[in-house]
Symmetry: none
Subunit: 195 residues, 4 copies
Amino acid sequence: MNKRKPKYNQIIEAAVEVIAENGYHASQVSKIAKKAGVADGTIYLYFKNKEDILVSVFEEKMGQFIEKTEMTIEQKENANEKLLALIEMHFQQLASNPLLAVVTQLELRQSNPALRIKINQVLKPYLIVIDGIIKEGMQDGTFRKDLNLRLVRQMIFGTLDETVTNWVMKDRKYNLMEQASDVHQLLTNGLKVSK
Amino acid sequence: MNKRKPKYNQIIEAAVEVIAENGYHASQVSKIAKKAGVADGTIYLYFKNKEDILVSVFEEKMGQFIEKTEMTIEQKENANEKLLALIEMHFQQLASNPLLAVVTQLELRQSNPALRIKINQVLKPYLIVIDGIIKEGMQDGTFRKDLNLRLVRQMIFGTLDETVTNWVMKDRKYNLMEQASDVHQLLTNGLKVSK
Amino acid sequence: MNKRKPKYNQIIEAAVEVIAENGYHASQVSKIAKKAGVADGTIYLYFKNKEDILVSVFEEKMGQFIEKTEMTIEQKENANEKLLALIEMHFQQLASNPLLAVVTQLELRQSNPALRIKINQVLKPYLIVIDGIIKEGMQDGTFRKDLNLRLVRQMIFGTLDETVTNWVMKDRKYNLMEQASDVHQLLTNGLKVSK
Amino acid sequence: MNKRKPKYNQIIEAAVEVIAENGYHASQVSKIAKKAGVADGTIYLYFKNKEDILVSVFEEKMGQFIEKTEMTIEQKENANEKLLALIEMHFQQLASNPLLAVVTQLELRQSNPALRIKINQVLKPYLIVIDGIIKEGMQDGTFRKDLNLRLVRQMIFGTLDETVTNWVMKDRKYNLMEQASDVHQLLTNGLKVSK
DNA sequence: CATGAATGAGGCTTCATTCAT
DNA sequence: CATGAATGAAGCCTCATTCAT
């Protein structure tokens, strides 16, 4: 599948818009085709089936998402700053693309387990980025050495994800970016009064 | 609707099993009726429609879930112990009811926005329980006084939810209960080395 | 079937009201039972099935309708006056019972062919009354002797029926009774200028 | 909706046959599709829903019915001959298309009020044709000048309709066409002996 | 006689996918 | 490559009727 063909991208962009506007279940292939300006059948020249469109949407968008995050993090000097940068990038990229936020936080979660598994595979590189920060922090003495990698990763991702989902469900009425530093604080210092 | 009617509970229990076994979208009303040992039409004497079954499943199960959590927490003396108890109860209740865990963590998330909103309303009391612990901790000096209530709630719930979902998706291959104390540690002390 | 039992009549009257209010297809047996103040099952002690209720409604009401018409006509001296009386009675009885008019002119016509045949059997005595008037008129020289009995009966009944149906469909906005004399005129003198 | 598409007409013709054969309520969309030789879903490319098929059947058939009637009437020189032509056309068209007669006289009357209203709108042009004849007859002195237009229209239509319905219900055992001249006689001269 | 909880058959419609052009 | 007309499988819900009490 030649992903450089313009129609491929037209369809991807149309899919994001259609899903964000109409919701997952009301996003018929014919609607995506119409918005993309192609015939229904043309979709099947570029995608195996409807699920493939959705996975591809997530792949394309998350690919850029992760890439940008990695580039930004590379420039930071220590794990703590990298973690803050990750949080900021996470919030900033979804805040600046509300349609995509709706799709990733709400609509794509309505998919069936088979699709969910594929989506998780796409997410894996992102989790590896998180893991890298944690490991680096444990090595350079920023974070505690006895951290359970999986649990920390789940705490970080779970917190970011829940925060963004809440923001989307509250119709994005408040500024997500402003939460970044507080979330970073919480994750690094925890709830307790420091002694 | 008299919820003490045996058929009502038969249908609720059957629904949990059918959804866990077949997945949300393959859970036809007729399948639930068959498993419950009643006629299809009988379902509609106790539930308004299919969605009402699903909401009721969540209401019944989460109602018990929250009630047990509240009862356990009451007996604890301070916010820190209450938080640990909440985490333990959260993990324990889902670990001891794998079918329900599949339903709440995976299947019910595939539902449409209307159902999602109702599910969120059912969850609200649980979030209030979490809020209560945080507030108590801030008052009695266990937790920092400058915590952002919403963010902390999102961190706690997001972490627990993500942890359970991962456990379910990994086919429950490891012991969820054993994670409770580490998760509590992480949430209260954060990632950083304490000084 | 003891038709003197009060419940029998309660159900008949309830059926007329329910059909007139809700229409034929929305007239569930349970609705009729509720309005009659009896249990659903009780209906089946007095009627064989739902169709039997409807036929009985028509039988009871048309029985009275025809009886009153016959009594009034008997007192008239010639065929012409009898025809006028028939028209007046037809219009008057339906005009004074709007619920019944809705049921007979609109709702009962939605029934299936089997029921339609039974309804036609109930109507037969009325057609015989009409036939009697025509025959009498032909014998006593009021009406032409070469009239085709069936056609005349169809003209008379068709005209009355269509007139009442139009009146019901126009929401009974005009006075039906006032039309009686004109209709009688039309039927007896026809359209042409008399020579 | 391009009504010249062959499938559109296939479906219309199939619907007439299926309704006439099976009756209104037993006329499932799938039966019509099968008889038309198309897939169930194809129906919905040409019709909005099942009701739309029925309305369209009536529109198409009554459209032709009225058109032919108008064309025949135009060639007649006076109101009296036009009325006779109308009656003949009414009988002839239904007599030559027994399936359609069953559909229009019996089956379509079982429809719900919403559909009945649409059917009445389709009939309106026919009533206007009748009105035209009456008005012309009153102007040219063929008919009495004091006729009540609505009542006359109801007498004519009611008589024709009742006559055809009776003929259909009697299983078309006699010749409908032969009645035309007698019906015309009746309508124009009435019942009374002319003086 | 009376109840009313339980039954279960039956159909319209949507929409992902195909394939002849 | 591109089209878009055609396909056909699949499920929620209603409501007349029964029968154990």
